[in-house]
């Protein structure tokens, strides 16, 4: 009989006592077969009584349990009665860039300057953040690490939430450039008097953005390869936008700003554009769909923007976009975005209650997101040949009470689901002599 590996690791924790960070998992050396359970593949398909096999970090079997040849695998994990998901992916995240919001020294997401596409987030991603382990405990195993501020904030990269250092964690060094679309109209509030005005600076800002992109494009066209002679590092940061290797992420919520941005995409010739935020995206869904622009929706758990808006409008936005055929994913962009990342699965839970199907809700955290980030060739779904980045939950992972990970794998590596908070819990349970009701494994 194959041994159940988790027990070994569980024992390891109690002997180590309090440790500052979770130890990254070793490379997958033994092949693993997850047997039984319901697998949500992230593709829209579900397999009941599934078998998912993987070796050397890659999935090599996806099928029904009764069909698989168990003898090909070193270890078997019994997942019967459980749910299997691709690792959830958080986007537009500052996790690893900021540890504690109020402590300036721990903030690394803002850089100085207006246009800084060459600034890249990945190299500031702190794999030893204490927040990341609490996030993966709930199934969020990958993230797009995104800088903030300015007009062009910089470039984001995609990481796994397990690694000794950022080189170890990287999935995609740079996946896109982030543009904060200027406000077309701004709200002016002075002494309780609120004005909505056409922004005086909008035309100027838009002109500057257009110029900046046009110059970058001219540069990229004239210099097909980066050369050391007359190299402009800022323009180099933009190069991928014009050949489709990078996406342009436009941060915008307002209908007018979104439609202006889509027009800009056509005007400049940007091949991939993604709207981040997108509160009003349902109002301009046609032009988004027709222009192949996808949306990473702002936190589902947020208040309606206008008093008159339907009370549940933020909950229903995913459904509205799904019905319009717009490709979308869910993200966490609210107060305390880092720590709130662990609630990302529950945003999908709410979106499901308010209209998405079970699998649409899973896709909004997995394959849709991978497609948007341009990493769907290797990530985002449970399919043969893809990374074995997936987890098992003893129940529905999109519901708070049943989200309870028993196993999680990143590229086949069996990761530690413990975190400092669980350690503190155990520490004081033992101080008071309270029985443990939490099962970290």
């Amino acid at each position: 009989m194959k041994k159940i590996i988790s027990i070994v690791i569980l024992g390891l924790f109690f002997t180590l006592g309090l440790i500052a960070q979770q130890t990254p998992a070793p490379e997958q050396s033994r092949s693993i077969l997850i047997l039984g359970g319901t697998a949500h593949l992230g593709t829209g398909d579900v397999i009941v009584d599934a078998a998912i096999g993987f070796r050397a970090g890659k999935i090599d079997y996806v099928g029904r349990a009764f069909q698989v040849d168990k003898s090909k695998y070193d270890d078997i994990i019994d997942a019967s009665g459980k749910e299997i998901y691709p690792g959830f992916i958080v986007t537009n995240s500052t996790i690893g860039l900021q540890e504690i919001g109020a402590v300036r020294a721990s903030r690394d997401q803002y850089e100085v300057g207006t246009f800084r596409p060459n600034v890249r987030s990945l190299i500031a991603f702190n794999t030893d953040s204490e927040i990341t382990p609490t996030v993966r405990t709930n199934g969020v195993l990958m993230g797009q690490i995104t800088p903030r501020g300015g007009v062009i904030s910089g470039s984001s990269g995609v990481v796994h939430f397990d690694g000794w250092n950022w080189e170890d964690a990287v999935v995609k060094m740079v996946d896109g450039v982030h543009l904060n679309w200027p406000m077309t109209h701004h709200k002016h509030n002075r002494l309780g008097k609120v004005d909505i005005r056409k922004s005086k600076t909008y035309n100027q800002s838009k002109h500057e953005i257009t110029t900046y992109f046009s110059e970058a494009k001219a540069y990229a066209t004239a210099n097909p390869e980066a050369s050391s002679r007359e190299m402009d590092v800022r323009h180099e940061g933009m190069r991928g936008l014009f050949d489709g290797s990078l996406a342009l992420y436009v941060h915008a919520d307002d209908a007018r700003a979104i439609s202006e941005a889509v027009h800009f995409k056509r005007e400049i010739g940007i091949s991939r554009m993604v709207i981040i935020g997108g509160y009003d995206s349902y109002l301009v869904a046609d032009i988004l769909r027709e222009n192949g622009v996808s949306v990473l929706l702002n936190s589902v758990h947020r208040l309606p923007r206008f008093k008159e808006d339907d009370v549940d409008l933020p909950y229903r936005l995913p459904k509205l976009l799904a019905d319009e055929g717009v490709l979308f994913g869910l993200q966490v962009d609210a107060r305390m975005t880092e720590m709130n990342t662990r609630n990302l699965p529950f945003y999908a839970g709410t979106a499901r209650k308010y209209g998405l199907t079970d699998e649409q809700a899973v896709m909004a955290l997995t394959r849709n997101v991978a497609q948007i980030l341009g990493i769907d060739a290797t990530c985002g779904s449970i399919e043969r040949g893809k990374d074995a980045t997936l987890f098992i939950s003893s129940g529905d992972a999109l519901d708070i009470m049943t989200n309870n990970l028993t196993h999680a794998f990143i590229q086949g590596k069996h990761i530690d689901l413990d975190n400092r908070q669980r350690e503190l819990y155990r520490k004081f349970q033992s101080k008071y002599g309270i029985e443990s009701k939490d099962s970290p494994k």
Partner: protein, 1033 residues
């Protein structure tokens, strides 16, 4: 009653005017002897007689063919032409066809006063007053300011005001919470004539104006400061008599001296009117209150205050809503207010409110009368409108012997119109103020209209003059089809004309004689030859100078929208009543010993839970005749209403009064905003009750308000009377201003060490305060009654609102809920409480509670925590989501709170996290947002569980309430269904329909002549109804 009095007053005045003109002649002349005369004396011996007019003595009395005699700036007599006889020299002016009205009186004006520059927010805190002199401690309290001292006449503005009909204005410097005294002035050039009452009123507001002093930073702080000032002033008065005042305080001296004047409160929105009234009732005051133009939204409540309301007429202008995206920025409140604002005066009047109009907030006084006419158009009776312009304001400030009616002995302030005042076409022709006329339209203007025979030299042509006064047009009639334009310019009786002849331009100048029948003068032709010219009228086309304009009722008033409660999206015109409801066959989470009962019925009546059991027969409880509603609960879950121990919604203008280390005197309940749509959103999440807490900016925060979410009720009706009084305390980074920036480093405390000392210092002072009060009462008992009445009794200790609240804590009459994170300070505060002899009630947030749960248990304090927040501040780096589970396991009363409007509407999900993190049983987890917070708030005897006799605060869910699949089907607050999916759907439809109707109306208003605001240029929005108040500052 009031009208009756006014009428009789008018009769007396009329009577007096006929028989007592001699006595009035002896009134002092203007510019009496204290002013030296440069030149020779004008003795003002000649009277002015305005004859044959329709004289509107006041709103109820009109004399047709009346005469008014003016003498030395005053009205000497009034009566019919037959009754009035004048001895001595007089000028008689024929006013036939004209109407005379008393001039308007405006109680809220800044005419002639320096502009107030409002303080801007500054990084540098200013904790103490920097005003030099023996004045009070807070710069927003300025009772020592006298408007008469800073008043400077302004000829241009005075003329504009006179032309708009204003004869008297009560002016004050609109700066501060106590603003000093107002002065009654007339808009005339000579300041010695202008001021007619030097100190006519005392003024107040909730706005601190130009003061840069930090305190108060919030509305509730302003309210407390004004209340404390009243207590201080009373004590100061008593103490000064005994020589115990501890120093001169000129501010309090002035405050006391102005208490007998009419008290005018510049409030603003209707909530501020009610807030002002609360202060008035507490201190036995009668405020005359400036409203904000939105008073109609709660006219009944305002009528109940009994206050005279000063009503502004600066109605909002329409927005250009043609861009549907931008149109979303204009709220339903704004749209509806735009439509209903002109009805404000008539609705208030109808409700029985005594109103006075003001020009406050108008860009130009000339907008005033048209705006008042709009109010009349909306149903305000004309006589009530006239009263609101004249006699009401005069009587409100006790100036009816000076202004407000056309009565003998009053200022000769009279408006002359060419028709009834409230008809749209009626023009102000003259305005007599202080007996001096301002000519607005020339009553003697010549009527040129007619056919003329124009002779220039030897040639004669036919000329036709048409048009109206001020805009005459002349043409030469060559034959039936051919005409030539003649340029014509009239200035008084001098006329200048020119016309083109064959040789070129002929220019003419001359005079008009004989009522425009003959014109004659000199002409110069193109060659420079002089010649005579004349024109003789051949056909007189009468221009009726004194028109009787058509009644403007032909202006069609389209149907108006209903007033909804609250006046915002999701408000309703009708209030929801109690229902008798039986919910059948549901899974009931009782949060009581009965646990979860499957297939149970709940009977609700009169706001209470009557029974919870299987198969209830309602008639057994209600009698067979009582009707009830059956609600199908099969497949549904029913829980108690969710209670949020820590919320900051429904609060207006400031949640923190964090400008001092202790702000125990402020009360969140004084600044509730019943119109906050977040209340509705919480109801949609099953929340029925919350503690609205002061912020955490200082160690001793303010008093909290425990409210039921009675959507649609007045602010005061939200307060839950069953609850005990609570106060917010706070610890850690916020109170030591750690994250406030580098400028905020001077307020004590700046470290956790100092925080402890703030508590000790304050509690020790409170204990002494209590002792002083006790000693006073003892001594008072020993003192003879006679001595006490004679003011020889012991001096009552100064009432200190801050120490009052702290003393209540020591006496365990008020309870602490303390914002807390780190274990060290949690421990510290428990020691403070132990040593002071009281028990802490609740630690809120309590993120490191799990580290000191044993000590908390020993102290007997409860915990209300976040489910999973952490990592936003340094002090929360050890916060863990298992906290609630540890506290629960240790037997501590544990709640989960929101502190956040968004999370507040999903508290059921936050409770589910206690199941996920730490395995708390589901029923117990639900109690963390129902029964347990009820216990912590001392309301568990009335709410928090589903039990016979408790408030029917009940939520129906479509699934297990702790599941992500649960959605609220209906929320009952005290048996009233204030949210349900069906009602919500109806409201959404209604909101869309009402917006569509108003949008169309606004867009159409551009075709009816109203100016639109273009979004591309500027849309002014008033998200809150405060805006008018802001303009008052």
């Amino acid at each position: 009653m009031i009208n009756l009095l006014k009428t009789s007053f008018a009769f007396v005045a009329l009577f007096a005017s006929i028989f007592s003109s001699n006595a009035l002649a002896q009134t002092p002349t203007q510019h009496s002897s204290t002013f030296p005369i440069n030149g020779t004396v004008d003795k003002h011996l000649v009277r002015t007689i305005l004859q044959n007019a329709t004289v509107h003595i006041d709103e109820n009395t009109t004399i047709l063919n009346g005469t008014v005699v003016l003498f030395r700036g005053m009205i000497e007599s009034v009566g019919t032409s037959e009754e009035i006889s004048v001895n001595g020299p007089a000028i008689t002016l024929d006013m036939k066809g004209y109407h005379l009205y008393p001039s308007f009186v405006d109680l809220h004006s800044t005419y002639g006063l320096p502009e107030v520059k409002l303080a801007e927010w500054s990084r540098n805190p200013q904790y103490e007053s920097n005003k030099k002199g023996a004045y009070g401690w807070n710069q927003a309290i300025r009772p020592e300011i006298k408007s008469c001292d800073v008043f400077v006449e302004d000829s241009n503005k005075a003329k504009t005001l006179r032309e708009a009909g204003f004869g008297a204005l009560l002016i004050h410097v609109p700066d501060g919470i106590s603003r000093g005294t107002g002065t009654l002035v007339m808009p005339v050039d000579d300041p010695r004539d202008a001021i007619i009452r030097i100190e006519a009123s005392a003024h107040y507001s909730f706005r601190k104006g130009s003061s840069k002093q930090n305190y108060p930073s919030s509305l509730m702080g302003s309210i407390s400061l004004l209340r404390q000032t009243h207590f201080d002033a009373r004590w100061y008065n008593d103490a000064t008599k005994r020589g115990l005042s501890g120093g001169t305080n000129l501010s309090l001296e002035a405050f006391n001296n102005s208490q007998n004047l009419p008290q005018i409160f510049s409030a603003g929105n209707w909530k501020d009117i009610l807030r002002a009234d609360k202060i008035a009732k507490e201190f036995g005051l009668e405020y005359i209150v400036l409203g904000g133009g939105d008073s109609y939204q709660r006219a009944e409540a305002i009528a109940q205050t009994g206050s005279t309301i000063i009503v502004p007429v600066n109605y909002p202008t329409a927005y250009d809503l043609s861009d549907p995206f931008l149109a979303r920025f204009v709220s339903l409140t704004e749209l509806k207010h735009w439509e209903l604002a002109p009805s404000n005066a008539s609705i208030l009047n109808e409700a029985g409110v005594n109103i006075c109009f003001t020009s406050e907030g108008l860009r130009s006084p000339s907008e005033f009368l048209p705006a008042v006419r709009k109010a009349v158009e909306r149903g305000l009776p004309e006589n009530d409108a006239l009263a609101a312009l004249t006699s009401n304001p005069a009587e409100a400030i006790g100036a009816e012997n000076l202004v407000g009616t056309i009565s003998p002995g009053l200022m000769a302030n009279i408006i002359v119109t060419d028709g009834p005042l409230f008809k749209n076409k009626t023009k102000l022709v003259e305005h007599w103020v202080s007996g001096e006329p301002t000519i607005i339209l020339d009553r003697d203007a010549l009527n040129l209209k007619g056919d003329y025979s124009l002779t220039i030299g030897s040639k004669t042509i036919d000329m036709i003059v048409d048009g109206e006064i001020g805009m005459w047009e002349a043409t030469e009639q060559v034959n039936d089809t051919t005409t030539n334009k003649i340029n014509l310019n009239l200035d008084g009786r001098t006329i200048v004309m020119s016309l083109t002849r064959d040789q070129g331009l002929v220019r003419m100048t001359g005079n008009i004689w004989m009522d425009s029948r003959i014109w004659e003068g000199t002409a110069v032709d193109a060659l420079g030859n002089l010649m005579e010219w004349s024109a003789v009228k051949t056909d007189d086309k009468q221009v009726d100078l004194v028109k009787s304009p058509k009644d403007s009722t032909d202006v069609k008033i389209s149907a108006l929208g209903e007033i909804i409660y609250p006046f915002t999206a999701y408000g309703s015109a009708e209030s929801v009543g109690y229902e008798n409801v039986v919910i059948r066959g549901a899974t009931v989470w009782t949060c009581e010993d009965e646990g979860i009962i499957e297939d149970a019925d709940i009977l609700i009546s009169e706001g209470q839970i009557i029974s919870v059991s299987k198969r209830i027969n309602p008639s057994e409880f209600l009698g067979s005749k009582t009707e009830f509603v059956e609600v199908d609960g099969r497949g549904k879950h029913v829980t108690p209403g969710i209670i949020d121990e820590h919320s900051h919604i429904i609060i207006e203008r400031g949640v923190n009064e964090g400008t001092q280390a202790s702000s125990a005197e402020v009360w969140i309940g004084s600044s509730l905003n019943s119109e906050d749509v977040n209340m509705y959103r919480q109801l949609a999440g099953g929340v029925t009750c919350a503690q609205l807490l002061h912020g955490s900016a200082n160690p001793i925060g303010g008093q909290s308000a425990i409210v039921k979410f009675r959507w649609g009720s007045l602010p005061s009706e939200l307060l839950y009377q069953e609850a005990s009084p609570f106060i917010k305390f706070a610890l850690g980074e916020n109170v030591k201003q750690s994250n406030w920036g580098d400028m905020q480093t001077t307020r004590f405390p700046q470290s956790r060490m100092g925080v402890e000392q703030v508590f000790y210092d304050n509690f020790i002072r409170a204990r002494e305060y209590g002792l002083n009060q006790y000693n006073y009462r003892q001594e008072l008992r020993k003192t003879k009654r006679r001595d006490v009445l004679a003011g020889r009794g012991p001096l009552e200790p100064r009432r200190d609102l801050e120490l009052d609240a702290l003393l209540q804590i020591l006496n365990e009459e008020r309870f602490i809920t303390c914002h807390s994170y780190r274990q060290d300070e949690i421990n510290m505060l428990m020691h403070v409480a132990d040593s002071m002899g009281f028990r802490l009630n609740t630690f809120t947030h309590i993120l490191e509670g799990y580290k000191v749960a044993d000590k908390m248990k020993a102290h007997g304090v409860g915990g209300s925590t976040f489910s999973d927040w952490w990592a936003y501040k340094y002090e929360v780096k050890d916060a863990i989501p298992y906290n609630a589970a540890v506290l629960y396991d240790m037997g501590i009363t544990t709640a989960i709170n929101s502190d956040d409007a968004e999370m507040g509407r999903r508290l059921n999900q936050e409770a589910a996290k206690a199941v996920k993190y730490g395995g708390v049983p589901q029923e117990e987890a639900l109690k963390m947002v129902t029964l347990n917070p009820a216990k912590l708030l001392h309301i568990d005897h009335k709410t928090g569980s589903i039990k016979k006799g408790k408030d029917a605060d009940v939520v129906i869910w479509d699934d297990n309430p702790l599941s992500m699949n649960a959605q609220v089907v209906a929320t009952y607050v005290e048996g009233r269904c204030l949210f349900s999916i069906e009602k919500d759907t109806e409201l959404r439809t209604a909101i869309k329909a009402e917006r569509a109707r108003l949008t169309e109306k606004m867009l159409n208003s551009s075709t009816s002549g109203e100016k639109l605001k273009k979004p591309s240029e500027r849309i002014r929005l008033h998200y809150h109804c405060d805006t008018l108040t802001e303009e008052n500052r």
